[in-house]
């Protein structure tokens, strides 16, 4: 079920209302059933896979808690193998087979193809497997007692607001909240609804409008002038931010209406002045997951400089691969590795430091945005050929194709003058708001009239200018 659908418009108030009408002891069951309904709106049968991993992780958690010595590690390994195994089969098997087939053909060993699996990737698989792994790792590390209530543990993995695209929560933050008795709080309801509206604005007004241009150009990049490719890439940088942070805002807001606090996933990443700061602000729940469970496990920065760089490279390559089974994502991760290590080297060896003034800060911000946007080419391109073609054409500023002022047509949505004006206007509004208000928009709590104006304006913009063509969220595919 999409947050930007009519189904959710009915689902959300019914679930929230029932939640407060039910006594505390039944609420976990209500939320679990609701989350199952939410998930089964995509491909119902896949709930069985989800439950299988939940069962394994639940049992592994208890066994880790009960066992001692090496047995604890065995249960942790079993849990990780189960989760990574599901990911490997559903997400990476066909990619692996594809590459093996290419290799076998290239070496002339065979002309036959190894068989592919005809399966569709379960929605949000990478998110809930990472959340599940976070639980068993924390239990193993002794930071979290094992959850004995199966229903509550299942709810920890399946809690509908963050089930399919995060934020990837930690058990220490979320599990205790399911045990607490929540009382209806109108302030939480207001905060939650406001944040949901803000997320919806970013998704349906900005992201889905920019998507019309981006999709048209990235579908056939060879037919476009370098300037079109640059515009499409900048638009994609804004689109993916609004799409994903919009989803996160709606998730955090939906949870907040029932009194649950989810972690902030985005902290104005495009206002970062360097690439390290960008990663401290972008998809925070995933970045910190990799930091805590992979980077630290590899030794972090404690084993010398060279090893630190290797660890950074591993984290970013795995992060790229986490996003999708395609070489484009791996190159995206590699590019960020390059950016980060260059920045670290600069910080360490540069004979002088940049002055801290408005001009330099603005230029740093712009340079960071250019680097991040360039890497997005590989993230968004359909395949490596397209990605190289686009990167090369942009760098050469290739003018062999005609510049198209507007794109679309022939039955596809048209991105014309009206779309351009609306996209630019609403993006400016979004950036100004994010510059003035903190990520959860709490400042408005104390300013009722500003809040009224903000919410009314936003709701009008969403209804009048939103795109409600049931466009999925980009991160659902991961």
């Amino acid at each position: 079920m999409l947050f930007n659908s009519i189904e959710f418009l009915i689902f959300f108030p019914v679930v929230t209302l029932l939640y407060f009408l039910l006594p505390h002891r039944w609420r976990w069951l209500h939320l679990l059933i609701s989350s199952c309904i939410f998930y089964m709106a995509f491909i119902p049968a896949y709930i069985l896979i989800l439950f299988a991993t939940i069962l394994i992780d639940y049992y592994a958690g208890i066994m880790i808690g009960n066992a001692s010595g090496k047995n604890r590690k065995r249960w942790l390994v079993l849990s990780i193998i189960a989760n990574v195994g599901v990911l490997a089969v559903f997400k990476y098997y066909n990619f692996f087979i594809d590459n093996v087939n290419d290799l076998l053909h290239a070496l002339g060993i065979t002309t036959q193809n190894l068989p592919y699996l005809g399966i569709i990737l379960p929605i949000g698989l990478s998110f809930h497997t990472f959340q599940a792994m976070s639980y068993t790792i924390e239990v193993y590390r002794g930071h979290q007692p094992p959850e004995r209530h199966f229903g509550i543990y299942a709810l920890y993995v399946m809690f509908y607001p963050q089930l399919v695209a995060g934020p990837i929560e930690r058990p220490q933050n979320l599990l205790p909240q399911f045990h607490e008795k929540k009382y209806f709080n109108s302030a939480f309801l207001l905060q939650g609804l406001r944040l949901m509206l803000w997320g919806l604005f970013k998704k349906v007004v900005i992201a889905d409008r920019l998507a019309m241009y981006v999709n048209a150009v990235y579908l056939e990049p060879e037919k476009f002038h370098a300037l079109n490719l640059i515009i499409a890439t900048v638009f994609f940088a804004i689109q993916i931010y609004c799409d994903f942070s919009g989803y996160s805002d709606m998730a955090i807001g939906a949870a907040k209406t029932m009194g649950y606090d989810l972690m902030v996933n985005f902290k104005r990443p495009y206002f970062a002045k360097n690439i390290q700061a960008f990663w401290a602000r972008w998809h925070v729940s995933l970045s910190t997951w990799f930091r805590d469970y992979l980077y630290v496990a590899l030794g972090g920065n404690r084993r010398g400089l060279r090893r630190t760089y290797i660890n950074v490279a591993i984290v970013f390559l795995v992060s790229g691969f986490w996003h999708g089974a395609n070489w484009t994502f791996i190159v995206w991760g590699a590019l960020h590795t390059l950016f980060i290590i260059t920045y670290m080297l600069y910080n360490r060896h540069a004979p002088w430091k940049l002055p801290n003034n408005a001009v330099v800060n603005f230029l740093s911000l712009g340079f960071t945005f250019v680097c991040v946007s360039f890497a997005w080419i590989f993230f968004r391109a359909e395949n490596m050929q397209d990605a190289w073609l686009m990167a090369e054409r942009i760098l050469r500023y290739d003018q062999s194709e005609k510049f198209h002022l507007w794109v679309g047509g022939y039955g596809k949505p048209v991105f014309g003058a009206v779309s351009a004006l609306l996209a630019l206007g609403t993006t400016a509004l979004m950036l100004l708001t994010e510059l003035k208000l903190p990520p959860r928009l709490e400042l408005l709590d104390k300013k009722p009239y500003a809040d009224l104006l903000f919410c009314t304006t936003l709701l009008i913009i969403v209804i009048v200018l939103g795109n409600f063509q049931k466009t999925s969220f980009i991160y659902f595919q991961f």
Partner: protein, 321 residues
């Protein structure tokens, strides 16, 4: 201020303002749609008796002139073409028409290279919001993923169905611009399609038309055949003129499209008129572009079509005008 007011006031205010915005925008859109609105009203709401109904996409809208055909055959015909339409929209047009009008004596259905492509079910479903009182239109939109409850009972929610193209048309309407360009005219569903003509063959081949034959499209065609049969209406299948069959080169599924039309006609013993091979199809002066006749071409073609219809009527009993 109480929190509940902070939630309710923006909702109520926004809905009221959106309703006002809807009135403004829909009035702009109505002005812009100077052809579409009366055309769809005639097709789906009016009860007028017509002798003959033409169905198809823009090739019918701008290619078949009921005025010419009426004058040559003595019949009262109506051009029920839907711009950008496919077989789903043709089926809705036929059934929606029959839900309110007396059955015509003949239906002529043009099948072309976009007819069997259902990847985008409706080219412009917003245009049907003004004719939701037609039960066929209402149920067809619902059945094809466009819930119309809000659009029907709370019209302001129609705004959520507008895309930027529709929004820009609202602005154009306010500025006095309509979809009938200067020098063009409409007549009984026909909308004239400029005086432009093809100047050089090399400039007109479209390579972006990646068309498709969708699963289920043949079922819809068979359903239309059955609907006509149930109402005892003779059905003629048609392929209207395209310039020098040029689109055959750029649309890979063209042979499949023609075979589908042909086999359906044979199987159901229907007439199938291939007018893409007429001599007029080689005359660039008749075409606004490779796929569409211009104003002069539409008149010339309507004369040819009227002659064939007249012959068809003479051979078939029960066609007294």
């Amino acid at each position: 201020m109480k929190t509940i007011y902070r939630i309710l006031i923006p909702v109520v205010l926004a809905l009221l303002i959106c309703q006002a915005v809807y009135w403004l925008m829909s009035s702009g859109l109505q002005r812009f749609q100077a052809y579409r609105t009366p055309h769809l009203q005639e097709l789906f709401v009016s009860k007028t008796q017509h002798d003959m109904l033409f169905l198809g996409s823009s090739r019918v809208v701008g290619g078949i002139h009921p005025g010419v055909i009426d004058s040559l055959t003595g019949l009262n015909t109506y051009n029920g073409g839907i711009d950008g339409g496919n077989i789903l929209e043709f089926a809705i047009a036929l059934k929606g028409y029959l839900a309110v009008h007396p059955p015509p004596k003949l239906v002529v259905l043009n099948l072309d290279y976009i007819s069997f492509d259902l990847r985008r079910k409706f080219f412009n479903y917003v245009q049907y919001y003004n004719v939701l009182q037609n039960r066929v239109v209402d149920s067809s939109l619902r059945a094809n993923g466009h819930p119309v409850f809000f659009a029907k009972h709370l019209p302001l929610f129609r705004l959520t169905a507008y895309d930027d193209f529709t929004r820009s048309n609202c602005f154009k309407g306010w500025r006095g611009i309509t979809e009938i360009s200067a020098g063009e005219y409409q007549y009984k569903g026909f909308l004239s399609n400029t005086d432009f003509f093809i100047e050089a063959d090399s400039t007109v081949v479209l390579d972006t038309l990646q068309r498709y034959v969708s699963p289920g499209s043949l079922d819809l065609l068979n359903d239309m055949v059955q609907t006509c049969r149930q109402h005892k209406i003779p059905l003629v299948l048609l392929h209207s003129p395209i310039y020098k069959q040029m689109l055959f080169r750029s649309i890979r599924v063209y042979p499949q499209i023609l075979a589908l039309s042909d086999s359906t006609a044979r199987h159901n013993q229907l007439a199938y008129w291939r007018h893409d091979t007429l001599p007029l199809c080689s005359n660039p002066a008749f075409f606004a572009n490779v796929g569409h006749l211009n104003k002069t071409g539409a008149r010339a073609y309507s004369v040819v079509l009227a002659a064939q219809l007249k012959k068809y009527m003479e051979q078939s009993p029960g066609f007294a005008p």
